[in-house]
């Protein structure tokens, strides 16, 4: 199950500069495990204490995964995942 994952500028050090990579997984958690196996270090930038980091937005087909079960959000072949660090501050 190939899923395209759009990588933000700040995380492209983990993907050798690639803007988008392909990975596999039945759900978002599985996809991130697969990403980690090819791009070590990426998982820690996305997950903290077993959940998605508060200031990282992840979308599956344009929908924020927070409304789709987070790491449990299901994936299908051909889905597109976008990762965007939140733009936020004080």
């Amino acid at each position: 199950m190939a899923v395209e994952v759009r990588i933000p500028t700040i995380l492209r050090t983990y993907t050798g500069g690639e803007k988008a990579v392909h990975a596999e997984g039945a759900n978002l958690g599985g996809l991130i495990d697969d990403l980690e196996s090819h791009h070590p270090g990426l998982r820690e930038r996305l997950i903290e204490s077993g959940d998605l980091r508060r200031f990282v937005n992840v979308y599956i087909n344009d929908e924020d995964v927070r409304f789709m079960g987070g790491l449990e959000a299901p994936l299908a072949d051909g889905d597109q995942v976008v990762v965007l660090p939140a733009v936020a501050g004080g």
Binding site: P8, T9, I10, F55, N57, Y59, D62, D64, R66, V82, L84, P85, A86, V87, A88, G89, G90
Partner: protein, 166 residues
């Protein structure tokens, strides 16, 4: 150095004044790699707070998709501080995720919603290191605006096209 045109500068200041006492936020997009802030996009502060800002996640994705389609990037990311100086807070530094962007801070603490000068400062924030940079506001080229009443004066010195505000 950040070079920004007068209309965009004024637009950011007007947004910050309008949203005071809450923090205002947005981006100025420009062609990828150009370092030219050209297209002001005001964003909703999903936090709706005088001490915090966060782009709404859905609006943010729409903005990034639009920028990708147009081969643009966020050249400027701006937000206001409404009670403190125009310097990145610890949270701003910790969450900064666009190392190539100019982070613009506007402080509305002096005049709030009213007319009057604001602090307008720009920084790069890379790996937690803040570096302030000069801001140059570029006024429209007087020669590009035809003025039917102007009388050419061969002795006049041309106006400088830009003025530094730091």
């Amino acid at each position: 150095m950040l070079s920004i045109d007068r209309a965009t500068y004024d637009g950011i200041v007007a947004h910050a004044k309008r949203d005071h006492p809450d923090e205002a936020c947005g981006v100025v997009a420009g062609p990828e790699g150009s370092d030219r802030p050209e297209r002001l996009v005001e964003m909703v502060n999903a936090a709706g707070s005088p001490t915090f800002y966060e782009f709404d996640s859905t609006e943010m994705l729409a903005l990034y998709r639009e920028m990708w389609d147009r081969d643009e990037e966020p050249v400027v990311i701006y937000h206001s501080h409404t009670a403190t100086e125009a310097y990145p807070s610890r949270t701003d530094i910790g969450l900064a995720s666009e190392p190539g962007a100019h982070y613009v801070l506007v402080s509305t603490r002096e005049h709030g919603n009213n007319a009057g000068p604001v602090e307008f400062r720009s920084y790069s924030i890379v790996d937690g290191v803040v570096t302030e940079e000069e801001v140059t506001v570029v006024d429209p080229d007087p020669h590009s605006i035809p003025d039917p009443h102007s009388i050419p004066d061969p002795d006049s010195t041309p106006n400088p096209d830009s003025r530094s505000v730091t």
